[in-house]
Amino acid sequence: MSIPRASIIEVRDLKMTYGKKDAVAGISFNVDRGVIHGFIGPNGAGKTTTIRILATLQVPTAGGAWVDGVNVVTEPKEVRRRLGYMPDYVGVYEGLSVLEYLDFFSRAYRLPLARRKSAISDVVELTDLGTLLDVEVHVLSKGMRQRLCLAQTLLPEPDLLILDEPASGLDPRARIEFRGLLTELRRLGKTIFLSSHILSELSPICDSVSIIEKGDLVAHGPLEEIQQRLQGTEVTYEIRLVAESEEVESVLSQIPGVSRISQEGRKVSFDWKGDDSEIHQVWGALSAKKIAFTSVKRHDDDLEKLFMSLTTGDVQ
């Protein structure tokens, strides 16, 4: 019934209207197989709405979405078999132990008896829950709960994982461990589609991103490609001088591409608009005037910057 497609997620003109308001205003994008795809946007951008439509929990107003070539509206059951979905707020059955919890879900997914045990031990190993099997679910920490929920969605071995803000509420250490887990899953050939409003949390692991704001897609593509779009935009440099200098401002202002120079004692910062390969002009001009500096800092928080430049930051 479905022809194998190159992309695992295909979204076309997808629209979700609540009353008169467009929560998702007709977005189109593809997600390739085997990648980690970040779905990024500020609060109220429409991330959860899009994800719930993909997970067949909601019917869109117009357009369409396909998972593995299967329509999420007309064949929701088929779609559910192909993806594992983790909602933004996950509940667990308090009172069950970790093992009982996983066993319950292995039955709920109707895994054959012979495969249940091995499926559970596989996901337990993957998510590192081995030492907690007899612990009751309600005493687990937030990070461990998150792992347990991920383990549960992994039981039927879905090719696609859709995670809605999986890292929210995790401490930095748990976040890094969670990232490690996601890269491991990618290595196993799974596609991961995850949303977040914190850019830096995704940039180390994402292969591609979509940025959504007020229901509209403002950017979509491989991470490097989007980073290249930054080329035309400004980068901030910060240098620390060996000694205070009166001249530095006038020297810098003569170089084309430099703007917004500011000086605070020995700390000088300026915006650089131009190719990174041309920046040596600046260093050359400074050394020609014998202005020595000890350190250079490039604010290369690319994604953060990209995010700020692409979105207006309005929270809906």
Binding site: P87, Y93, R107, R110, P112
Partner: protein, 534 residues
């Protein structure tokens, strides 16, 4: 792998989980202890008081045993009435509130399996709880006098009652967003029910030193009673469980169709039973008292039927005013040409079918009345001479004609509710609005009649609200002027036509088809993947 996941034997995952969760809880252990000790203490106290009062000398040990058994089951019923409703009512709302619901239905478990699993899980624990103090009960066996069979029967009735209440609870839990709401709903039903059954037990059964089985043996129960009880019980339990699983399967699903078929079957069965029960009585009556006025349709029964016909439209406004959009799944099924959706067109929700279906339900009581009338035979000829239309008709025919105009009034009420739904109001709201408007008109008319306005004005006003007149002159329909009868029908007919046209107009404006099983508002949904978009 995907295809191998299909078609497995029924899943017991939910039952198992429910049992683990419920039995393990310390709370349930406490409940067990409290429950057993309440029963034990109550029976002990009653034994002691009996012994101290030296009643034991005047009463046989058998009587004493019997009274202990009665106390035992009375306490069980009270506990049933207190605990059981909440067990069912929280079953599904708790999952929704704990955010475990969506992960659960994202698995291969269907809503129906969840509902069955919950029922079995809850009843399993409940039966265990009810049987827990049974050892105490077995001590009464030492006195003799109470047969094992009657105790077993008592237990059977309690189990059936538990299943009944739990099913109702699950249904209300499935339909509610919060636990509080479903708890309130279910207590409104179960508290009076428990009180009534206790009242009956002590007034008729236990009070006469009997257990239920003895009561049944001593009183010959007519078969109609069993037919009614069985139909009622099965329809309520089956209906609750089915509607629970369909409510849980999403707004755009085909869930409404089976529920509508079920309601239709239930109403038909209900009125079929009324006809079957009344028929022998009526035919006997007309043989025994020819010419006189025995149990006739235009007497007491007629009055009851009229009141029924008055109340039924108000309860159907909710259906007539339900969502006017066809659920997506049904539109798709219909488009695919599924035969079931063609044959049972009237059961498909959406558009004017909502009105037609509710009118079909409304016509069932009318139909059963027509059938009943045909057995009664014509009682007496009347000739008021006031009108050329009804001048030479029999009383029975007159009565039927009035029922028909009452039916017409019902259709007008439903059409009003349907019209509000076309304007975009929700089902409950349009239903309440339509009922409210008609009740208000009724009150105004009643006031006007009481204030004795001039005849012509009253006549005009009265024609707006047939029910008021039916209730005022309920027992002598023929005396109501035929002129008024005409006026009723004309005003109701006109209002139906106006409401229908306005409704169709509103539906057009809002882009909802009136008859077609389509979803134009979702026509912009893609079925096939359009080729690459940038």
């Amino acid at each position: 792998m995907i295809s191998s996941l299909r078609r497995r034997p029924p899943s017991f995952a939910i039952v198992q989980k429910e049992l683990i969760l419920r039995i393990r809880r310390i709370r349930s252990l406490l409940i067990q202890l409290i429950f057993a000790s309440i029963v034990g203490i109550a029976m002990w106290i009653s034994s002691v008081t009996v012994l101290q009062g030296n009643v034991i000398e005047t009463r046989s040990p058998e009587d004493h045993a019997l009274s202990l058994v009665m106390i035992y089951f009375t306490i069980q019923i009270i506990v049933l009435g207190l605990i059981v409703p909440s067990l069912g009512a929280v079953s599904i709302t708790s999952e929704k509130q704990a955010k475990t619901w969506e992960p659960l239905i994202s698995t291969d478990i269907t809503p129906a399996q969840v509902v069955w699993g919950k029922l079995l899980g809850i009843c399993g624990v409940l039966f265990y709880l009810l049987l827990l103090p049974a050892p105490i009960l077995s001590m009464t066996m030492l006195f003799g006098g109470v047969s094992l069979g009657s105790i077993a029967f008592e237990y059977l009735v309690q189990f059936l009652a538990a299943i009944f209440i739990v099913s109702l609870g699950i249904a209300s839990s499935a339909a509610s967003k919060g636990t509080i709401r479903s708890l309130t709903q279910i207590s409104l039903v179960t508290v009076p029910l428990t009180a009534m059954s206790l009242g009956f037990l002590w007034a008729e059964v236990y009070g006469n030193e009997m257990l239920l089985l003895d009561y049944l043996e001593q009183n010959t129960i007519p078969w109609q009673f069993w037919a009614w009880t069985l139909t009622g019980y099965l329809s309520v339990v089956g209906g609750s469980l089915m509607s629970a699983s369909y409510t849980l399967s999403g707004v755009e699903s085909a869930r409404d169709v089976p529920v509508r078929v079920l309601i239709f079957t239930f109403v038909s069965l209900f009125f079929g039973l009324i006809v079957l029960t009344l028929w022998p009585e009526l035919s006997q009556a007309s043989v025994a008292f020819t010419g006189a006025k025995p149990v006739t349709m235009d007497g007491e029964f007629g009055f009851i039927c009229s009141v029924l016909l008055l109340l039924i439209p108000l309860s159907l406004t909710r259906i007539a005013g339900s969502e006017t959009k066809v659920p997506l799944r049904i539109a798709q099924m219909h488009q695919r040409g599924l035969r079931g959706t063609r044959i049972g067109l009237i059961f498909l929700p959406g558009g004017i079918r909502n009105l037609l279906y509710s009118c079909a339900l409304l016509s069932i009581p009318l139909l059963s009345m027509v059938i009943l009338m045909s057995y009664e035979g014509n009682t007496a000829q009347i000739g008021t001479g006031a009108s050329t239309i009804v001048g030479t008709l029999s009383e029975s025919d007159m009565f039927l004609m009035w029922q028909c105009s009452l039916f017409l009034w019902g259709v007008a009420v439903l059409a009003l509710s349907w019209f509000f739904a076309q304007c975009g109001f929700s089902g409950i709201f349009s239903g309440a609005l339509a009922s409210g408007i008609h009740i208000a008109i009724g009150l105004i008319v009643m006031t006007a009649v009481e204030l004795d306005w001039t005849d012509s004005k009253v006549l005009l006003l009265e024609s707006l609200s047939p029910p008021v007149l039916m209730l005022r002159d309920s027992r002598n329909f023929p005396q109501i002027s035929p002129q008024l009868w005409n006026q009723f029908n004309i005003s109701m007919g006109i209002s139906i036509v106006i409401l229908l046209s306005l409704g169709v107009l509103m539906a057009r404006r809002r882009g909802n088809p009136v008859w077609a099983v389509k979803r134009p508002d979702l026509d912009r949904l893609y079925v096939e993947i359009p080729e690459e978009v940038s």
